[in-house]
Symmetry: C2
Subunit: 208 residues, 2 copies
């Protein structure tokens, strides 16, 4: 992993800055202060913003604030969102089906190009324009199509063995929806989408 000096918290906030820049630029707001910028980003201060962006060069313009269009295009480039990224989906249950039809992915250059399931009743069916393949073909397809990213949406008990398979097929990044912590080699990056953890966080803030 390169760029290890940039804190993970910073990287985690970049997509939020990207979303906010897009919104502001879409609203025709060409320049905003750091204060206005973070207004709709809960838990992020203007200090966070300034410090985070400082890792990547000079952004703000003195007396004018941030140029939202410029910020948008530079964040896209930092996050390497100019080219398409191929994604494999493993597990086409309820959540997997929802992911296959999630329109937001393609808007940002992520394309699910292959989907796998072990259930013979699901294999062969088409969801969101993608034909579901048997899990046995996973290794071959990921290698042939040079897929770098996998989304794992299988039950908790199967997630680790699926992770092993995609890693040995060459996947470098995993988005894991299963509520289990994966063991992977150090060079593989895992992001956890943990819906229940988010609910627990919410719960903490509720009174009573």
């Amino acid at each position: 992993m390169k760029k290890l000096k940039i804190p993970e918290e910073t990287i985690e906030r970049l997509p939020l800055y990207l979303r906010r820049s897009k919104e502001l630029s879409g609203n025709g707001e060409d320049f905003v202060s750091s204060q206005e910028f973070v207004e709709k980003l809960p838990g992020i201060s203007s200090d966070n913003l300034r410090k985070d962006l400082s890792f990547f060069g000079n952004f703000g313009v003195k007396g004018q604030g941030y140029n939202t269009n410029q910020l948008l295009s530079r964040l896209r480039s930092i996050l390497k969102l100019q080219a398409d990224t191929k994604v494999a989906l493993i597990g086409v249950g309820n959540l997997g089906s929802a992911l296959l039809t999630h329109k937001e992915f393609s808007r940002w250059g992520f394309m699910i190009t292959a989907a796998f399931d072990k259930d013979p009743r699901v294999v062969g069916s088409q969801i969101g324009g993608i034909s579901i393949q048997p899990i046995q073909g996973l290794n071959q397809t990921i290698q042939n199509e040079a897929i770098n990213v996998a989304m794992i949406a299988v039950p908790a008990g199967e997630a680790q063995s699926v992770a092993n398979s995609v890693v040995s097929a060459g996947v470098k990044g995993i988005l894991n929806f299963a509520p289990v912590l994966l063991d992977v080699p150090q060079e593989v990056q895992v992001e956890q989408v943990d819906i229940t953890s988010k609910l627990k966080e919410l719960n903490y803030y509720l009174e009573g």
Copy 2:
């Protein structure tokens, strides 16, 4: 919001510590060092762990490490996960349907007790044992059932107006799946489940 002095990053990590404690305790590992504890928690150092837990009292035992069972029960209590929390779901498309059948929620005391959609073809159907109600009844039901938490799984363009409705009905915490930043009163806590942002984060780490 009480306890404002505890950093949000700390609160965000507590559910991960909870999950890890549960795993270790389930494996029969009664005591672990902070180093072992964070081993499967990417991006979290043993320093983070110690500092985070220090907000809530004394946890580690000198020379023995952490008692995983004790940690589990104290984290449950800090996150108020002993009693059931009622949750309303708004938007029963693909993602909403997946949420309705997500077994992990109830395991942690979250119960979706009401679900709403505006599509007359969906209203009246049953998913995961819940009968889908028309969106018009949202205010009434949330008030009558004293529901505190809402999950918003509607398209981006409708999310803000749904947020306004649930807030005026008395909801204090929102888990937002729509890719849009919500404007809510300060006393309402919003957590964003932003799948595309996670993909963008992953992308940053991929080489080439």
